[in-house]
Symmetry: C2
Subunit: 351 residues, 2 copies
């Protein structure tokens, strides 16, 4: 099997099969160019390669062919407990599989923080590695994107893009999910529905808010301004305090839409502490659906299609025959959200 410790090379295969090394290469790569190999030779080469346990050296291939079959996933800073940020995990897994299926491999960069120094360092890494493409997961910092572009790296932004020319984007439209969620609540009998969102100018956050307002309008409901809580971050604490304010203000909501799973966690914690039961006393819907399906009660949520996001991003990055540069640069994939009713929503009290 393995005659020596040194990995077997294509030359070894050639020698053993009694052909030239170039022929081996041709056979293994589906002989491009004007090279033609007889079926018999082909068979023999394949067999010998198999027998010798030949594995082409990707470093050499990369050196020669200028592409590494490596994709990088750059994951935004994970602040506190890792499990506060499960989205990158879903993305990572899905992207990793999608890449693998296409003969690519995924390098995961869990960048500590996007400090001022860090983006440059990261980009240096990426360039040294000669990755063929970069998936930028919600790059909160504009410089990162700028650096990546400036380095001439082929990349795509996911979920929460920074404004940038020439970088395709894969995002989610919150509208269908939120509309369905509000409709579901209204059907259950809710009239006073609150919203906890991020205080932000980012189109992604604005879109969630807008979708909420427009859904309310569609259902013919008024929005109580006091029932709209804008928080400074998508974090457990923010949800916790938002819920506190909602309760202290006696904003009479019977149902609540939290615009991120992390917020839901905080909301649930406060409700738990105050002994307020879900869904008996208040209905909760979460946006993201990264993991709230596993809480008790399982939380009704608006799901983002993480697997699809990763897949689309990967296939954008993998160059196709005769690809149009313009088309790539301006690609903008918008995937729909979807509402998943579960056990955290029920008719309001007194019905």
């Amino acid at each position: 099997m393995k005659p020596t410790d040194r990995p077997v090379t294509s030359r070894d295969v050639a020698k053993a099969a009694g052909v030239s090394q170039a022929t081996v290469s041709a056979v293994l790569n589906g002989y491009s160019g004007n090279i033609r190999v007889s079926a018999a030779t082909r068979e023999r080469v394949l067999q010998v390669a198999q027998a010798l346990g030949y594995a082409p050296n990707l470093a050499a291939q990369a050196l020669r062919s200028e592409h590494t079959h490596l994709l990088a996933l750059v994951v935004r800073a994970v602040q506190s407990h890792p499990y506060d940020q499960p989205i990158p995990y879903r993305l990572n897994e899905a992207a990793s599989r999608a890449a693998y299926r296409s003969g690519y491999l995924l390098l995961a960069y869990h960048v500590e923080v996007y400090s001022s120094e860090s983006p440059a360092k990261l980009v240096r890494h990426l360039r040294r590695q000669r990755v063929d493409g970069v998936l930028l997961d919600a790059p909160d910092c504009p410089e990162l994107v700028q650096e990546v572009i400036a380095a001439g790296l082929r990349c795509v932004q996911l979920l929460r893009p920074q404004p940038a020319e020439g970088v395709p984007v894969v995002v989610v439209d919150p509208q269908p999910g939120i509309a369905a969620a509000i409709h579901h609540l209204v059907t259950l009998g809710h009239r006073h529905i609150g919203f906890v969102g991020l205080e932000s100018d980012h189109p992604v956050d604005r879109a969630r808010q807008r979708a909420f307002f427009s859904a309310m309008r569609t259902e013919g409901l008024e929005v109580d301004q006091k029932a709209i809580q804008l928080v400074p971050s998508y974090a457990l604490e923010s949800g916790y305090f938002a819920m506190q304010r909602l309760l202290d203000l006696r904003a009479p909501v019977t149902a609540l839409l939290a615009s991120a799973d992390a917020l839901t966690l905080g909301i649930l914690r406060l409700l738990y502490e105050r002994g307020i039961r879900v869904p008996q006393q208040i209905s909760i819907v979460s946006y993201d659906d990264a993991f709230v399906a596993h809480l008790y009660p399982p939380i009704s949520a608006i799901a983002q299609p993480y697997e699809a996001i990763a897949e689309r991003a990967v296939s954008l990055l993998i160059p196709v025959q005769g690809e149009n540069r313009e088309a790539f640069a301006s690609a903008r994939v918008v995937l729909p959200s979807a509402f998943k009713p579960r056990a955290s929503t029920a008719p309001p009290i007194g019905r």
Copy 2:
């Protein structure tokens, strides 16, 4: 900055700095061998490299130096919902960071299933990629480990090792955590404590069971055999049915130790459905602590030190100067578990 589209090479740097290409290499690698570079030249080279935005081609380096600075994390099959398997995520992140800190990069292989065909294919990938080391996360299938070893890959097994010669191992000792958990329950007043474990011969599962029995003995408590539920898998469903049996058997436990987070999820689901409250009517402790801290109520749990596991594994894999092959092969790192009391444990009813 970037005069042309072609990445700048060390030769470009050499030309621009007016030195030979070898000198550039020497400077950038801390000039090994008998080569000496004057401080002035050194400075100049560094500056030119910086100015040109030079990034060494790792493929070329790898080709030459026979090591790629790439580590692979092979993650066991993820069956159902990704979030049922959060441990790989914790490991992945921690390993990725640890590797990055040491100048290595982590390739994540989320292998669909360890089917009969798959291990060979995976190993082929690993060999093509010429990874410097492989972290095997709980390789449930012995062939995988055998193949990896047979391929001459440097590897370490994590958490749930297969018996194999010459492969170091990083595992967790459940004893300290379980002892502390039982002691905690006893202190609260519990006498009837149940256990949901895996029906298995694997040392890791046996150790959890043994730790439970020995802790009970230490506390001077008898174990009710009916309160020991052995299930066929660490899965939500298994926990669900085990709890069902416990309830139907009227095994009068006031507290329960579930030997995996996944089981806890199932247990909680049944309790939720039956309207049995935690911790008022039953106390729950979970083993793993991969994510149950975020449930409501937050679950008291025996934590495995995932970050430490990944770090130790990575540093085992990274070869050190003058390393002892024997010592590497027989390394066996055992990390302690720790109990984290949270809100799912309380005095039993009637106290």
